[in-house]
Symmetry: C2
């Protein structure tokens, strides 16, 4: 589903489900407008971001990442490249590389993945890597061993500037978001990342998405203050 | 952690965290008693229950399941026996058999497991197997192919008769339970299974436990009416 399609689905759903569900005004006074702060879900499977010298170490000298498809967040893309993660108790093959290259290699995995690998890692926002966990990464041309960079991604909400004003949330806020999939869940402690370079998307990892029975593009709602 | 130890931990925690956290009464009137409905978490990893002829088919004629350790729920136990689950796209080895034997073989797996196997299954309470998913099971002495019996376990609360009265919940109720691990979550739609043969335990699968950052014996709380 493209970003535009998800955006359209959100807007359509807001009109259909929420606005039309409001009870008709009981008097001639103007009807109160209930603002439902609906957000689309984005599920992050285990993946990694690579620093330039690691791209070359894994894929060969002079190699550049190859775009497979754009992600919802502007400038971010899934690559054709995959790696194998190697932990003390297991391996996970075909883990997707996301582009563009970053200053420091970062691996994001769900707890279930970490159990399979036999490692543990801290719960962090992207980019907050000091003291995070080490891991080995194997590519077709070589092996890289990072001393830190493995994290469990902290659940977070990307939201653009206009939408963040409309929804009354700003960067660093901790909000609660309710999903309404087959296994309804209220996720607390969702960190907001707001601003012009973000597109509205509630990022969960696969454990969280599976626990809630939701998939990419499903709708959730910010609850409370 | 044994059932008695978890029970003791619950009682101690209720005293320490909740009762002592109540603010002192501001007047000479009797202090209001706040009933916090605390429940211990029990995490179910993927596992299976076997019908008698499947025990023999997998482990050999005349074989009986061997108890490894008792579970919290009375009469239930983990066995020394394990199997390999075989799906169209993958296998999972060393899946624990739970005893005693049952009338119909039942496999409970998390969505993450089903993705690895390449199958999907319905969300069900234990024992509700009509029309559930098929799967192959390999043991040391043979292979069994079930036509139904694979489910995703619906989150549920086991609770004894006295406790269910005290907590104001009964079998079939749907309650909301809040965990307070590293990733706080309010789980909605938790089905209550109450009665004398249940010991208080909030059963989650590994996806749900990992999404909430909780482990066996952690405390959660029933919220709302």
């Amino acid at each position: 589903m493209t970003g535009a399609a998800i955006q359209a689905a959100v807007e359509q759903a807001v009109r259909r489900v929420f606005v039309s569900a409001d009870p008709p005004a009981a008097s001639s006074a103007p009807a109160a407008v209930t603002v439902r702060r609906v957000v689309p879900v984005g599920v992050s499977s285990r993946h990694l971001h690579l620093q330039p010298d690691h791209v070359e170490a894994l894929y060969g000298k002079g190699h550049r990442l190859t775009k497979l498809r754009d992600l919802i967040q502007p400038g971010q893309f899934a690559c054709k490249e995959t790696v194998t993660l190697i932990g003390p108790q297991g391996k996970i093959a075909q883990v997707r590389v996301l582009g563009p290259e970053r200053k420091q290699t970062q691996i994001e995995a769900a707890v279930t993945d970490l159990v399979a690998l036999g490692v543990m890692a801290p719960l962090r926002l992207s980019g907050d890597l000091a003291g995070s966990a080490p891991l080995k990464i194997r590519g077709p041309r070589g092996l890289v061993e990072i001393r830190e960079g493995l994290i469990i991604a902290h659940r977070h909400l990307h939201i653009g500037g206009d939408e963040s004003s409309r929804y009354g949330v700003q960067t660093g806020d901790r909000v609660r978001i309710r999903t309404s999939g087959s296994r309804p869940v209220l996720f607390e402690d969702v960190i907001v990342r707001a601003g012009g370079d973000h597109r509205m998307e509630f990022h969960l990892d696969t454990d969280e998405a599976n626990a809630a029975g939701v998939k990419n593009g499903d709708l959730a709602e910010i609850i409370g203050g």
